[in-house]
Symmetry: C3
Subunit: 428 residues, 3 copies
């Protein structure tokens, strides 16, 4: 499966995505080959909270030609060349006039920047600063064969029903053109995480709601349609993004801090001994901004590798297929799986007998007591689990208390529950 995730990134890389348009549709269709996605559309002009769904944008071609007629900037070679949501344009102009529409990165002169102008009518091209500097005086021919008209905003949704109505919410975004880590890594990890959850559907405790949306306007659109349901049911969530680099695992906390998803993720990272960077909510950068906003208040964090903005190729043409590795994608997927497993099994139990049970009766325990049996670590874990299963502390709390990875306790807990020595508390 390791190569599968990388191959999905590779397949999606050339598509020109934006917050609307055929690139989004093609992207979602590609994901639908892996998981059963509901693809939904919302018309341009729909009010979503303080925003309005914009016109749909599509591009057939866009270029700048020099006097010799040579395409010196060519959308077909790299879709980052064209500013996102550039209006249609055709004309001839001097270098000075052209330059008012050119965007570069003087400090990274060999990279093409990623620039958008979704809500203000504008056009422009992005290019390497070195190329920009070499441009000669002359007359340039500009053509942007784009369309910007009443259409639809497109997103994908998959709900996997577990035993509980309570939901785990996963959100990833699908609006960036050819950039591999931000955004395709997140999208691909989410797809394969969804596939994994589908394979375990029979045993899932929680319901999983997984969405693929254009950033900001897509998240807001989804919230405007499902706000009340989400507020009622979502107990934890992640924005899945930037999962393709081999850098440290990075976690952006929920606004409320110390929520379940914060506690789980930090526990998982600590006990799986990953190099880790923890960020508070001030470092947020993606749709957790919307999900955690006042009045919405969903406890949604974001688990990444190197954080967005933390690697020099971020939002440039350097964020390409060579930057992302199959190994990183796989580790990110596995870590997300472990986090979800912990959420699934993190119940609160209460002891059913007064005092310590007679553990030797249940074959949990030694029968002849020596100095050595007193030092048995597994028996100590058993005693500690029983001591703290008081109906007020979840397993995660207990695991933190006794400094064990919570997944190391699941077996013992299941045995204790099976023997009837503890029972699950329904915090309903």
């Amino acid at each position: 499966m390791t190569e599968d995730i990388y191959n999905l990134v590779k397949k999606l890389f050339p598509i020109c995505r934006s917050i609307t348009g055929d690139g989004v549709r093609e992207t979602l269709q590609t994901i639908k080959e892996i998981i059963p996605l509901d693809i939904k559309e919302v018309p341009s002009g729909t009010k979503v909270f303080d925003w309005t769904v914009p016109d749909e944008w599509n591009v057939r071609d866009a270029y700048v030609k020099d006097e010799s007629g040579k395409r010196i900037i060519d959308f077909k070679k790299c879709n980052l060349h064209l500013i996102g949501y550039s209006v249609p344009f055709e004309g001839r102009m001097s270098l000075a006039e052209l330059k008012e529409h050119l965007y570069t990165l003087p400090e990274q002169p060999e990279l093409i920047p990623y620039v958008t102008s979704y809500y203000k009518k504008h056009w422009g091209f992005c290019l390497k600063h070195n190329q920009y500097k070499a441009l000669k005086e002359g007359t340039y021919e500009v053509k942007i064969d784009s369309s910007l008209k009443q259409g639809r905003l497109t997103y994908g949704e998959l709900v996997i029903e577990g035993q509980s109505e309570k939901e785990i919410f996963l959100s990833t975004y699908i609006c960036h053109p050819s950039m591999a880590n931000n955004e395709l890594s997140g999208l691909a990890v989410t797809a394969y995480l969804a596939k994994y959850l589908l394979s375990k559907k029979q045993t899932l405790n929680y319901t999983y709601r997984i969405i693929f949306v254009p950033e900001t306007i897509g998240a807001l659109t989804y919230l405007s349609l499902h706000k009340d349901h989400l507020k009622k049911n979502v107990i934890a969530g992640y924005v899945v993004t930037c999962t393709g680099l081999e850098g440290p695992f990075s976690y952006v906390h929920t606004r409320a801090e110390n929520t379940l998803v914060d506690r789980v993720t930090i526990h998982v990272l600590r006990h799986s001994k990953k190099e880790t960077r923890l960020y508070d909510f001030l470092s947020r950068g993606s749709d957790e901004r919307q999900y955690n906003s006042p009045g919405i208040d969903l406890p949604v964090g974001s688990l990444m590798r190197t954080i967005y903005g933390g690697y020099p190729e971020y939002h440039t043409s350097g964020d390409n297929l060579e930057l992302v590795t199959a190994q990183a994608l796989k580790e990110s997927l596995e870590t997300y799986k472990l986090c979800l497993e912990v959420i699934e099994k993190n119940h609160t139990y209460v002891a059913t007998v007064f005092g310590e049970p007679m553990l030797s009766k249940y074959r949990f325990y030694h029968t002849v007591s020596t100095l050595e049996t007193g030092r048995n670590a597994k028996e100590a874990d058993l005693r500690n689990i029983l001591a703290y299963c008081d109906g007020n502390h979840d397993l995660l709390w207990i695991a933190d208390k006794i400094n064990r990875p919570v997944w190391g306790l699941f077996g013992l807990v299941d045995s204790l529950a099976e023997k009837g020595l503890i029972s699950k508390v329904n915090h309903g």
Copy 2:
């Protein structure tokens, strides 16, 4: 205005104040030239909680003469020479008898100490230890031409009404004879702070209650008359004292700790980059003792420069006009003004739209999104204010969260409120 405060200190310096008497009246009349003060009196014998207002004390003259008839200790030269509340006395005595009534500071032999005996009938003189050591055997003539009889305790009060019934309480004391830092600096800063508040009366949110009282018995008297009103309305307060030295800003917390006035003052001192010393309530030394006492429970702190007792001239003749500087008085006044401004504007807001508003619509924000716009600090502040305006956190909390001086946020907050994106929460 800088010189004005110092000049007030200078003008008040020669007056012989005590907890009652004409010195208090003259002091309050002098302040009344600056602000419209209500001067009130309470008769001797009035019960105030566990105390009784004492007889009124006045002094015409007091001295010790040596055998040659020379005034060797003379109240008219320095009012600290006479113990506060010394009873009338006239007599001749040996050096040994006299010494039972003399007070000095052996470790600061060139300073006259400040001593009182308000509630036990007593008389005595204070002098430099060096003079004391040089006294020769012989017969001394002592005269204390004081009166101690049924009279009144005098205090001043100014209430400046703001829009809210909730009150900010400022208290300073007026019972020390010629000492410049403790107490005249506090009195003068309070007078000019009151003058400043009067000049802003039209825009004040809170009502300001400002009192000039004799320490302890005056504060208790005021509390006994206004306890219920104060308990109902006061949300923050300061005892203003020791504001005349150029030492570090010193803050004594309220008993309850972490109250509004504690949070505001610490925030102001931290962000205005003053050298600061924070003291807990155990270091209290003035009328905050009464205001914070159990059953009274007013959240009153005290903001000083070098704390009382923290400078060697404290409660001696060394606490004079040369110790106090116009610059220190001005800085103290400015800092108090900033604290009050923060209290005035420290509201709690709640966002009025779900999700982030579309900030570019309101001209708060960039329209073309590049790497650079993503790093704009002012836009980050805006997003953060909106994220934490959830109706539960006041601006001070938000400012502390994002590590900005709260006064740097007032402009943004006003703009957001004006656009209707946030609204004030009435914690009523």
Copy 3:
């Protein structure tokens, strides 16, 4: 009295105790010579929560003889030689067969281990590893003249009634054979602590419930009989054990943490400047396991010297009369007495007058105020006690706040209460 405690340990040392049997009865009778103990019995077969009271075990004789007929392992020489609850047995066997029933400590080859098999029918002998290694091939004669039959579990109880129904609970165990520190030190200190409490019966505020029980099964038996009463009344408790070594004072917290007994014990140890080791509840090892278990939830800690398992002779024949000292026993007793005194006197008071009282009126205070009187530490303590007697903070909290041993405040507090300046709050 110092020698008395040690002599009690010495007297009890030779008795062969176990969780049932005549050794327990003899032990309790010996204690009854010191304090009026109720000795109670519960029949074998009684269900106690998840456990069952086992058959009663008694031993007349037990040995292993070599081919020459010499007793090479002899219960009569040291009762640790026989595994606790060894079933009756008689037979001859080869060295190899015998070895399946021998227990040693290879790393402490000169010590006999302490081993039990209460609930699984088994027999065996414990011996020094050096002796074990020297055993020769041959036929050995084994005899265990023990009885294991329907009988009774025996424990002792003493309730000393104070003015309040609220109880302090003291528990010590009586089921180990000849080991001096673990367990006789605890038993002896408890007996003399009870004797001390009886001597102060007239002045006791709380009721004291003191039990001498076999570990685990005895504690559970007691809980099964008195659970509801204990849960209603016990406000603090200790398991008294391992009080005979001169090592550091060691305290195992209650499960709930920061309960009264935790606060008191830590305060006492800190201010009496004892070398101290604090352990959280994870280090528990005796009946605090049962008392703190979910559903029982008694706030019971354990104050020891060197913790069980923290000294190399623990649970071996090295834990003998030479290890324990009279001095250590006395210090432990004194420390327990101080802890109980603090619990007794740790009330919550509320000031009865508004503002500070006029302390000089009550002769608590100076009358002539000088710089020196302002620095008087006892007067500062008085002011601080009054400031924090707000009905919400107990004396222990106040003592911690002002960093004084709470017993240094009792005199001042009693005086203030006598003068009517503070009154006790009934947290009923």
